[in-house]
Subunit: 211 residues, 2 copies
DNA sequence: ATACATAACATAGCTGTGCTATGTTTTGAT
DNA sequence: ATCAAAACATAGCACAGCTATGTTATGTAT
């Protein structure tokens, strides 16, 4: 007998190729089907099943990839001395990501969320929570402010705006309401109105409502 | 010859039956396919093509139906002497509709909006615009308030919250953030903070964050 | 080096999808 | 009663995702 015999292993590169190709096809608006996904490549349809268990698993992995890219974008927001500005910048980065990859953004929130995806969403939310926490410690928000709640509220505002614009009926300039909404939220959470307006304006990167 | 001969007409009842059945299947989470939609009825698959031109047209009509039902629900909010309460009540009705019919709500905002759907969305938004306009005339908001903008902002807040809850990763109690967000928005638009809080609390119908 | 159990991979065919083609029936103004 | 037109019924098409089955590559133990 050969007891410890172990079989051929999955090639992680194949998995990576598949989701990157899927993301690219999503961006170029090509229909993503089992066969179209592997057409022209050296991979066969079975690769989708060995690596994802089927097309549903592939879409799930693609959602995960979307959250990973979103996280990378949020990570690029470097914390400054002004945590209110930072939270605004994070929201702006969130909007920018959704506008740059509207189809991927839709896929991320389209499907029935399962536990794994919810965790991915929570992970990106954590960036906002940290900024909210720093704002509370800096005395910008009331002492009894719950950072998770403020982060969730900011997220809801951002998601509402951008989903109505990126994949909804509202025109792009509607995003210009972002600063007002964020200022209203942060002010209601305890920040000084004038100071808040300045911080939000500094954190609100240009290139969203324009072009 | 028989020049003015006119052919058989479409039976509106068939169209109604189809979309009502589709709405029911959506609610009961049955997969909606061309064949499953007409299975067990006296209608054939061709009915979908004569009345909607295909499944895409059926989905479009279903979206329209969703907006019609939303409009009916918003129409049930009877204006009171307090327009801020009324706007809150409209937002609450919007949330209630989405929570009662989450799958229909998703269909409404899922697909690529075309002109017709955008018009339907605008029509329901008009309810909010009217309430905002009355609030401005009543002196609750600043005189330079744009009712359409305030309505849009209220909509964005409501949509962000409810889409993250009804079809997203956030738990239902997250909706309890609604009053704070609305109060923040209305206060930023000029309403007196204390008075606003009261109005929002009166307009915020129970039975949302609970059960 | 060789054997071989295992799983990745390749291919063909299955069911079910929306849609179209074609024939039949119903309609309603003449 | 006539008959053109459109609604309706049926069958079959291409393509979707998936599964069954045979083949190949792999990595450990001999």
């Amino acid at each position: 007998m050969y007891p410890g015999v172990v079989a051929r292993r999955k090639d992680p590169a194949v998995r990576t190729q598949l989701i990157e190709r899927a993301a690219h096809m999503l961006r170029t608006r090509e229909p993503i089907t089992l066969r179209s996904l592997v057409a022209g490549t050296s991979m066969s349809t079975m690769a989708v099943y060995t690596h994802f268990g089927g097309m549903d698993g592939m879409w799930k992995a693609l959602r995960q990839e979307g959250f990973t890219r979103l996280g990378a974008r949020l990570a690029q927001v470097t914390p400054s001395a002004d945590p209110v500005r930072d939270l605004t910048a994070l929201v702006t980065a969130y909007l920018g990501n959704a506008l740059d990859h509207p189809d991927l953004y839709r896929v991320m929130f389209d499907a029935n969320f399962d536990l794994e995806d919810a965790q991915a969403a929570d992970d990106t939310l954590e960036y906002l929570v940290q900024a909210a926490e720093r704002g509370r410690r800096a005395g910008r928000y009331r002492a009894d402010t719950n950072p998770l709640e403020l982060a969730t509220q900011s997220w809801a505002v951002a998601h509402g705006l951008v989903s109505l614009v990126a994949t909804g009926p509202l025109p792009r300039p509607t995003l210009a309401h972002g600063p007002l909404l964020l200022t209203a939220l942060f002010t209601a959470t305890g920040d000084d109105p004038d100071r808040c307006r300045q911080s939000v304006e500094q954190g609100w990167q240009p290139g969203l409502a324009d072009d």
